[in-house]
Chain length 602, copies 2
């Protein structure tokens, strides 16, 4: 099967030739697996994506969900696709066999899910949210909560949500006010309003499992007084039977500019419309200990953030493949050196400016895919590496890379979608082609699960400094190890490695310089620029790594594919990495422009 969603050839390269994923099967957790089972899963996901997700991508955009008589209506293709998805069992691809999972490596399931995101990001959001919810309960919930909620989610009978934001508290979760009042029977009653809840209401599943952040009265203020609750839309009895409707009310749907297939809701908890036992309040069950909600949520949020980056990558990737296909078949104009107007027109892929736009896309989307799969591989390492020191190292590296894996693809694969439109010219601006929808859909990714600004503070303010800079040190060491390998390899890789080595030195020096003054306001004033600079260096590293894998390939195999990888690596090092000089210079100057700007001067 060959689709314009993701490149199977590229996935083979990244998974098998670069990340050596087959070696994971030497570990007990993956012993049942082999390259064949990995490929089968990729086949399954691609077929599902092509046959059941892609065909209604545009319809879900133009006919978004509506509310009629309090019930959410949507086009029937969404449920049909999700029913097919449930049958594949892919939701539990990386989960333990004990809960019905396949125990696949994360890196493989991330690649498989990429097809669904590329095909239809709106429909695939429902299982993604459910997966995040299920993983959080698996990590922090009781055995009973796992039985009651996770198993039906794995079976596709229940869907899940994450209820964090409130109308007055988005980026600032410290300010949520939803309260959870303890009851004599050990349950809680929740009262409050949650905003931006994706998948917050629908009739795609028998039940919806909300994971809700709320405050238990009397707890500490701020983030230290937030607890996590599981709040089902319909109460579930001890035998798993569905009972009364819980006191969770759909207030309305948000009307977005993209991701329109995913219901995005405003929910009231404890409004009193549904009173399961005559009393108001949404019945909730505490997950783990009280006041640990934010930490628990963040445990899951790292995965969710890499998942956002993966979704952004998938949209960028399919846009790239579609614009490439267009450029190959659209005749227009002649080479600048051909002055004969009677000569036949050439396909636009022949024009250097179009090739620049395609190479830029290729370097962004393949670089981003390498990064998110590398993070998936780290997750497997963190959980299954035989040596605990390797696990710790993977954990730190993943912590450091998470804000980058979330933000960099969100920014640059959106830029790729912009270029995909441009390659299409006026046609790309119409709704007859897919690329404009990808661009609109992708615009959400720099916002949800923590904006760029939040990721920047996380990277520079928390990750780069935590444990005396241990996570940053691991990142720099790991990149330098690649640089050393490339030096030894000699040739072009050594040349690029020298440039990457210099850029890594700048990360180290700039981070020290920013924090040397002990003034957090000054250090963080340009955190967004720091995020961009470090992100570009990290993706340059991903390209050097790919180049090394190309060097290791048999010289006679698939020469066009490897030549393309080499050229994209060159492109990134020639056109992209040099951008970082200006960013590091700005950071090193401890620039105060934004600090000194006053509101009344705007």
């Amino acid at each position: 099967m060959s689709s314009t969603l993701l490149s199977r050839r590229d996935l083979r390269f990244l998974l098998y030739e670069w990340l050596d994923v087959c070696r994971l099967t030497e570990r007990p957790r993956y012993a049942e697996h082999s390259r064949e089972t990995f490929d089968d899963v990729l086949d399954l996901a691609e077929r599902l994506a092509v046959e059941h997700f892609a065909p209604h991508n545009r319809a879900a955009d133009t006919s978004e969900p509506t509310v009629e008589g309090g019930r959410v209506r949507m086009i029937p293709q969404v449920k049909a696709a999700l029913d097919m998805f449930a049958r594949t069992g892919l939701l539990a691809a990386s989960m333990d066999e004990s809960v019905g999972g396949m125990q696949l490596p994360h890196v493989v399931s991330a690649a498989a899910f990429g097809f669904l995101q590329a095909a239809n990001v709106g429909t695939s959001a429902y299982p993604f949210l459910t997966l995040g919810n299920a993983n959080l309960l698996l990590a922090h919930g009781s055995a009973e909560q796992v039985d009651t909620y996770v198993r039906p989610m794995v079976q596709g009978r229940f869907f899940g949500t994450m209820c964090l934001s409130e109308p007055q508290a988005g980026s600032s979760l410290a300010d949520i006010t939803t309260r959870a009042e303890p009851q004599d029977d050990g349950t809680y009653r929740l009262f409050g309003t949650k905003m931006w809840i994706s998948g917050g209401d629908h009739e795609l599943a028998e039940n919806i499992v909300h994971l809700v952040l709320a405050r238990i009265p009397g707890g500490p203020p701020g983030v230290k007084g937030i607890s996590l609750f599981v709040v089902p839309k319909i109460l579930v009895g001890p035998d798993g039977a569905l009972g009364a409707r819980n006191d969770v009310t759909l207030v309305g749907l948000n009307h977005k500019m993209g991701y329109r297939g995913t219901t995005n809701t405003l929910l009231n908890f404890g409004e009193g419309v549904h009173r399961p036992d005559g009393r108001p309040g949404a019945v909730g069950h505490l997950v783990g200990p009280a006041h640990q909600g934010l930490a628990q949520m963040f445990h899951m949020m790292n995965e969710a953030r890499v998942g956002v980056g993966a979704g952004a990558t998938a949209l960028g990737y399919t846009g790239y493949l579609k614009s490439l296909a267009y450029a190959r078949q659209r005749p227009q104009g002649r080479p600048v050196t051909d002055k004969d107007p009677t000569a036949p027109q050439v396909p636009i892929v022949a024009h250097t400016d179009v090739r620049r736009m395609l190479l830029a896309q290729k370097s962004y989307v393949e670089g981003a895919l390498a990064l998110v799969l590398y993070c998936g591989r780290l997750l497997d390492e963190e959980r299954t590496a035989p040596d605990p020191a390797d696990r710790e190292r993977a954990h730190l590296l993943l912590d450091m890379l998470t804000p980058i894996a979330k933000s960099w693809p969100s920014q640059w694969c959106l830029a790729a979608n912009d270029l995909a439109i441009q390659v299409h010219g006026g046609y790309g601006y119409t709704r007859d082609y897919d690329v404009e929808q990808h661009w609109r859909d992708n615009r959400l990714n720099p916002i949800h699960e923590g904006t760029h600004g939040i990721q920047a503070l996380d990277l520079l303010g928390r990750k780069a400094t935590m444990r005396d800079g241990a996570a940053l040190a691991v990142l720099l060491e790991t990149i330098r190890a690649s640089v050393s390998r490339a030096w030894k390899a000699d040739g072009e890789a050594a040349e690029l490695a020298a440039r990457l080595g210099a850029a890594v030195d700048r990360i180290a020096a700039t981070t020290r310089r920013l924090w040397a003054g002990g003034d957090p306001a000054l250090a963080l004033a340009n955190a967004g620029v720091y995020l961009e600079a470090v992100g570009h260096v990290v993706v340059a590293w991903m390209w050097l790594e790919q180049l090394l894998a190309v060097d290791a390939a048999p010289s006679d195999a698939d020469p066009d594919f490897y030549a393309g990888k080499r050229q994209a690596a060159r492109y990134f090092f020639r056109y992209e990495l040099p951008r970082t000089t200006a960013w590091f210079d700005l950071l090193d100057s401890l620039d105060r422009t934004t600090l000194e700007m006053r509101d009344e001067w705007f």
Copy 2:
């Protein structure tokens, strides 16, 4: 009146304090005018924009035109607004009094039109197209054509279009195939299909005047065999009376992702559906001499291209003002140095990352507005400067600046709209706020009237080399004159001038280097990067110019406004101009990455 469309304070600064527009009233053409009449026109345009254009901006987006029974239907507010517009006489603001115009300077009418574009770019496209059409006929049409078509356009009775592209010929106009067969009576019959025709059909006016590029059989191939024709939708008799329907047929509407209020059509000429005298073919009248169509069209297209830049600027500007207003009223989070979660939240304008996004927008949109008004001022200079040498100089400078004034705002004011969404967070991603529509609308500007790639070839391949580099020389001299003034001014302006001077030297050196080898394919391989680099230097120049005007202002007047201008100038020189180093370095390396990339490697 204070709106969030454009800043009147900024316009006062740019027009009166910087561009010294009042001195134009010393010239005979503008002798009837004064600052008061200029302000009256700005008042009129702003009120019209606020009261009649802005209110249906969203409705025109959500309820786009449809075709029913061959007739175009649209929401009635569009016609109501355009009828009001016609009553103001603004269409002819800068035209001669002899054709019913106001003889206002172009720079003033450009500022006035900015309000309409900011308020509703879809509705304002109809008069803009009509204006371009009328100006082209005024420049190249016969007296009879002016009487028959231009006068009714000035009165608002006829609307105009530009019919250039065909389905197989967009960027490559050399390949148009529409043919115009000469008739015994001196008229022509046109046969062919025109694509992307904005305003191509509607019932907003009594008639639609199409200006059509077509080939007279037997003419030379390529661009040298293209002629320009006026083809009315309804034939007009010698007495001005409307006659039979001409053979121009609406094939269908294009469904765009933005600019949805403007009908965008596929038109057939000479399909035979309407046969005004029993014979097929759309009746057309040659404008000017045969085979000069492209040159005539380009005469107008320079204005149209600066107009595209102005429209992009207007959308960027209103997005900036709206995100600023939002940032001032939205409480969220606390300063990074405040760890007390019980302290009240601060408005997000207090966060440095939000200030960075607002300063970036301010530096883009005010820089772009300065550029397009500077171009408007050059147009006035080109047409009315007492000294012919000054006219020639203005002509050359405007020629050189046109691709930049088209492309730079299209790219960076779109980036401003992206930041405006980001400042709004999740709310900005919904259709409840204006900024997402501005972003979608603005995405057309890098495409229509010549894509970025086309502008880049125009700048580096034609403008920078024409007349042995005379236009480039004028640009560099003019920027250096500003640099010299700033050096004399001393202080901060001198410091920024030093940086700008270095960047100007790089333009000169890089242009020489690119063309030194005599290899156009190599010279033009990175024309897009050249366009970006020169564009950023030009806008830095606009900021230095503004800083000089700030220095010249009375020290006690409006200190917040001037402090804001200073800070935005600093922002551009600190965050933006340094980007150019990497671009010039790439160009100087005569990089062959895109030249050497092969189709089969993708």
